[in-house]
Amino acid sequence: MALAKPTQDATDARLDALSIPQDAGWSLAARQEALGRLKLMGMPHRRDEYWRFTNPADFNAVAPVAAPPMDVSDEKPLYEGMEQLRIVFVDGVFDPEASDDLAGEGIEIARLAEAGRADIHWARDLYGLLEARGQSPVDRPLCALNTAFATDGVLIRVTGKVSRPVSIVYRHENATSDAILHHVVQLTEGAELTLLETGCVAARANTVLETDVADHATFHHVRSQGRNHDRRAATAGFARLGRQSTYKSFTLTANGAMTRNEHVVEFTGDDATAHVAAAAIGDGADDPFHNDDTVFITHNAKNCESRQVFKKVLKNGAVGVFQGKILVKKDAQKTDGYQISQALLLDDDSQFLAKPELEIYADDVACSHGSTTGAIDEEALFYLRSRGMPKARAEDLLVLAFLAETLEEIDDEDIAAALNERLAAWLDRHAS
């Protein structure tokens, strides 16, 4: 079927400006297939069901909107003092000087940019695979674009229980940087890994993380997207879960003119667990703030538990979007699916748009969902103020309390505490 003309035009213009890296090596076939998928779907459009609340124009544009980098040198690095294997990207470009040795026990790490060195690689069979699986029933053209044109990314194969987290640190230094990064994580049977992602990737970023979690394996993903104001980010995490495996992903976002975070999770083995959570705070006073979480969880195995916890604090015309779907296939009996999305609106100008969806074909499941939008509790605010807290401080305390439930989704207490401290510091800075 031919694409509608505006979509065709946008797609042609975008593709004209991009090219598959010359030394694509083993990744070439997957990239070409992804390009084929993208040409069939076209770039996203406001008319598309899953782009109704978020305008994809900034992602479709040939050149990114400029975003001045933010000086965060006065911030102490997140997870300081914690053992970690650091991999640093500056505006989407690998920084070998700032990065650790890409090696460790029970773990193999390579870079996508070095794919040209070999025709055969463990990642060859996985690169783009989960992204392609995630294209049905909902088109995700930005992700196909990512697979086709990614310039770099981290390829991680985990074969043991790795205690030292892999920590991908992003730095944004160039106001017009445009990054496309594609990471692949493979956890073999019984393997364990924590992946940290920290910071603003670029002025405009398109990142994909594919995670294949084999039977009995455990993957923790904790991401902090920084507090840069003008940046645009489209991210997608695709995960496939084997039997009795665990997948937990948490994202903290402050500011950001445009954020679209997608999660596509598929249970293929019985008795597995997937938790996806996020906390976002945005103030639209000086810069726009649009924050969209779009989640699709497919239960295609028995007795699996999925849990989505998303909270947003919105102020001064900030916009929050949540689109969360739980699809339970016919044979996915004993599914336990839970979804909650909540927004705290600090004024009348902000808005929260939520679209919770359940589609259930099995007859013996427990699925529930809820979505709430509310203002700050005036009684609580007065109580705090009557004890001497200035209004802004009291509000911050209530904001932290509201978001606390999402941070509780992080298993590692040190990581959760570090993020909570970071969040409190951000609020403090904002109030003063």
Binding site: D377, E378, E379, A380, F382, Y383, L384, R385, S386, R387, G388, M389, P390, K391, R393, A394, L397, L398, L400, A401, F402, A404, E405
Partner: protein, 251 residues
Amino acid sequence: MLKISNLHVKLEEEDKQILKGVDLELEAGKVHAIMGPNGSGKSTLSYVLSGREGYEVTEGTAVLDGENILEMEPEERAAAGVFLAFQYPVEIPGVGNMTFMRTAVNAQRKARGEPELNSADFLKLVRAKAADLQIDADMLKRPVNVGFSGGEKKRNEILQMAMLEPRMCILDETDSGLDVDAMKLVAQGVNALRDPNRAFLVITHYQRLLDHIRPDVVHIMSNGRIVTSGGPELALEVEKNGYTDLLAENA
């Protein structure tokens, strides 16, 4: 300490006058009690003095140290030394009781230009004061008032009062929802804070609280005014004969 003059207050949302000219002078070192039937305006007086929204002061002043506190924000009144022990302490899920108290104490110290307490000093102080009120470590760790019994909530109010060391303490029906033992404990906490430099305004329906917190002056409030004032014996009279006789006498 606090001089309330000709205070008129109406509800913001509707045209209903609640206080119709309250005059009250609360001296340092003294405990004043206000009694009165339901709807007489007792709780409104406490809310207006602490700065709760929803009320409009149409006339009058409440002057503390030469300043009309009615023109201040709630947090400024707190820093100036006004404290209200709530009739219904608010539950705040997600905010730890300890974090709450430390933030409050330090916000007030900051507002007064005093150095903030570090966590170790704060901890030592709060533990000592909590022990006096039989508040255990668990109650300090839990979210503010969440899952607290009625007695625990009121003890937590008194603990805050002890930590913040206000000069003008207002207790709004602190006896409501308390059994005799809990009331004694709360009263002990209040009595421990009695001080020549501190004034108390105790609002209550019943005389029984005043058996434990002995007032110096008792006022009877009705229909938005103080109708009569006297010594502790006035409270006993209310207990014996109810408000009806008393109000008839002063009509």
